[in-house]
């Protein structure tokens, strides 16, 4: 585990000249969709789900801090221009204004990047929205490592930040299906929500399974006897693929998808962890500090469930810039990296 906690950056000196790499993989554009890996995709699941909702709910309004095109809110803005508020490049204002709209009976969906909501607007989400339990839905693109732009845009600690806020429901959906269903469900939830978004052409993974998003529930997507993955966000896609690959090597893996980070479904998680003698492996597109992994670990300790436990996630450091596939490889989020780690762990 020590590789997860380096004390200094691995980066080369900025004064060391570089050559064009053999891979010639360029930094993926900031607006690039998550690699669909040959799967079916659905366009703008969040924005389109919001349009569907707005057809029957006059209280739904959308706000953007100059990132509607990059959060998929632009499709809603086009469909309902009079219910879209372009608040400008002012996240503190956008969150405060969403609170004001909620005070007057509306259900605002306020969107920006996860870094800006969690870092810049935290006090406003906390005091203007969460303390008063107002039904504002803060929906944020670029969660975790979904851009190669570097730490300014990589929200590797947003779940840790948001988990600390009372009243706030925190979601990390897996794919287009999960995002669309969660959007509908949170509109009915009476309190504030922070939801991570995948945007653009978003893979459809859970459509292959008998799955329906339920707020506050972790659900078994695929059962197995040697390893229990507990995952959220796009890492659920990755561990589903890893489970298939590992099965060929004789390692039977279960995948428990936990898109609700807070309140965590402690009942299901502890029950599954206590079933059999499976190695419990959490997998998240987030720092190993303060996210799903530590939430699960604390829940298991509190409930007296003692298991072998490993964490897959991003290191507690400012990540490198570069091409997203390279970075996913470098930081161990790829299917191959998951398989390698799990095979090592089960043989220990």
């Amino acid at each position: 585990m020590s590789e997860h906690f380096p004390m200094h950056s691995r980066r080369k000196s900025k004064y060391e000249p570089r050559k064009v790499p053999e891979s010639k993989v360029a930094t993926s554009a900031m607006i690039a969709s998550l690699d669909s890996e040959g799967r079916d995709t659905i366009a703008a699941p969040f924005g389109n789900a919001l349009i569907e909702l707005a057809k029957t709910r006059d209280d739904i309004v959308g706000l953007s801090a100059d990132l509607s095109k990059y959060t998929d809110l632009h499709v809603f803005a086009k469909a309902y221009p009079d219910r879209f508020y372009q608040m400008g490049m002012a996240e503190q204002l956008m969150i405060s204004a969403a609170a004001g709209l909620a005070r007057e009976g509306f259900t605002p969906f306020a969107t920006t990047y996860a870094v800006f909501a969690s870092r810049r607007a935290y006090d406003f989400i906390c005091m203007a929205i969460a303390e008063e339990n107002l039904p504002v839905k803060v929906c944020c693109a670029l969660p975790g490592l979904t851009t190669g732009y570097g730490p300014s845009h990589q929200a590797t600690e947003d779940l840790a930040i948001m988990r600390g806020m009372p009243n706030l429901t925190v979601l990390d959906p897996c794919d287009a299906i999960d995002t669309m269903q969660a959007t509908r469900v949170i509109a009915d939830h009476p309190g504030p929500v922070y939801m991570r978004l995948l945007r653009g052409q978003v893979p459809n993974v859970l459509g292959e399974y008998d799955y329906q998003f339920k707020l506050g529930k972790a659900q078994m997507i695929h059962d197995g006897s040697d390893v229990l993955f507990i995952a959220s966000g796009f890492m659920t896609m990755r561990v589903l693929d890893a489970a298939k690959a590992l099965a060929k090597d004789g390692v039977s893996c279960a995948v428990l998808h936990s898109p609700t980070i807070k309140p965590l479904d402690v009942e299901t998680i502890t029950r599954e962890a206590a079933t059999g003698a499976r190695l419990v492996v959490t997998a998240e597109n987030h720092s190993v500090t303060g996210g799903l992994g530590e939430a699960v670990a604390a829940a298991l300790m509190r409930e007296g469930v003692h298991v072998s436990f490993r964490q897959i996630g991003l290191p507690d450091e400012f990540l490198d810039a570069g091409a997203l596939p390279t970075l996913h490889q470098q930081y161990g989020l790829t299917v191959d990296a998951i398989c390698t780690s799990v095979k090592t762990w089960v043989s220990e």
């Binding site: 503190q92 009976g105 006090d123």
Partner: protein, 283 residues
């Protein structure tokens, strides 16, 4: 709400209302032996004009949808707003002695969940005006003609979020938004004008596109005129009234004290302050 003896005294002057607000605040200050009494005494006149001249509300139904909303962005001014809400009959006078105590509906910093008539949770400064922008947009969406008032301090002019809201209110032509700035030139570490807000106040707001008035915030006639102007203006722009106030106004020996964010009052001085105020009771 049944315990509240609603105050309905149409012949009471604004000067008498301001006097009562000061008195309620001093009584609450005496309960705790401390508090933001300097701010409460300074803001009593603008609160009197707000609650007894400008605002439309129902004392027995603080959440009536037709009310003008009054946001207290400066949470620590809660003592001042409680004093006004008591005088307005929204809070019961007999709870004055609970101020800041366990289980009180009147905590030291204003919070919406605790107190009838306290619209928002203030205290994290620089929040009120942004919330007011959203609420003003919401009222327009609903076709509700109510006004949103946001009372903020001069210290909040240092918060960047205030200026995000200032720009946005102009962008959305929020002519239903009236911002009140209590400019007493005091913040925690000293004079506000020695820290950030030293520029020409009204001109700054005007440059952003607001209708701005700068007045003596302890002059009831000036306040009435400014509120009337702000309410009756037809320009599609937000309005600000910058109220130059004097900390501790109405209690001369405190007015003369070395000014501080948190005015020190000795235990025996509360009775003295009340006696001085009582001597000057308007008729």
């Amino acid at each position: 709400m049944t315990d509240i003896a609603a105050v309905s005294r149409p012949n009471v002057s604004l000067a008498q209302r301001a006097w009562s607000i000061r008195r309620n605040a001093l009584l609450m200050g005496e309960v705790q032996g401390q508090g933001y009494i300097g701010q409460a005494l300074g803001a009593a006149d603008l609160l009197a004009v707000s609650y007894f001249h400008a605002l439309t509300y129902r004392a027995d139904d603080p959440e009536w949808d037709g009310r003008d909303r009054f946001y207290l962005s400066i949470g620590h001014y809660a003592i001042a707003l409680y004093a006004a809400l008591i005088e307005a009959g929204i809070l019961p006078e007999d709870e004055i002695a609970t101020y800041g105590m366990d289980d009180s509906r009147m905590p030291m910093s204003g919070m919406a969940a605790y107190t009838p008539g306290m619209e928002i949770t203030g205290g994290s400064l620089g929040h009120g005006l942004g919330i007011a922008v959203g609420a003003a947009m919401g009222l327009k969406r609903k076709g509700n003609p109510a006004f949103i008032y946001n009372l903020m301090s001069d210290g909040e002019l240092g918060e960047g979020s205030t200026w995000e809201a200032v720009m946005s209110a102009v962008q959305w032509k929020l002519d239903n938004l009236i911002c009140l700035v209590d400019f007493n030139d005091q913040q925690a570490d000293g004079k506000t004008t020695d820290a950030l807000a030293s520029g020409p106040q009204a001109r700054q707001w005007e440059a952003f596109g607001w209708h701005a008035q700068e007045i003596d915030g302890n002059d009831l006639d000036a306040l009435v005129a400014a509120f009337n102007t702000a309410r009756s203006l037809t320009d599609p722009k937000p309005r600000v009234i910058i109220c130059r106030t004097k900390m501790c106004k109405g209690v001369p020996f405190l007015e003369e004290r070395e000014m501080a964010h948190f005015v020190r009052v000795e235990p025996e001085e509360w009775a003295k302050a009340l006696a001085i105020l009582d001597e000057g009771r308007p008729t």
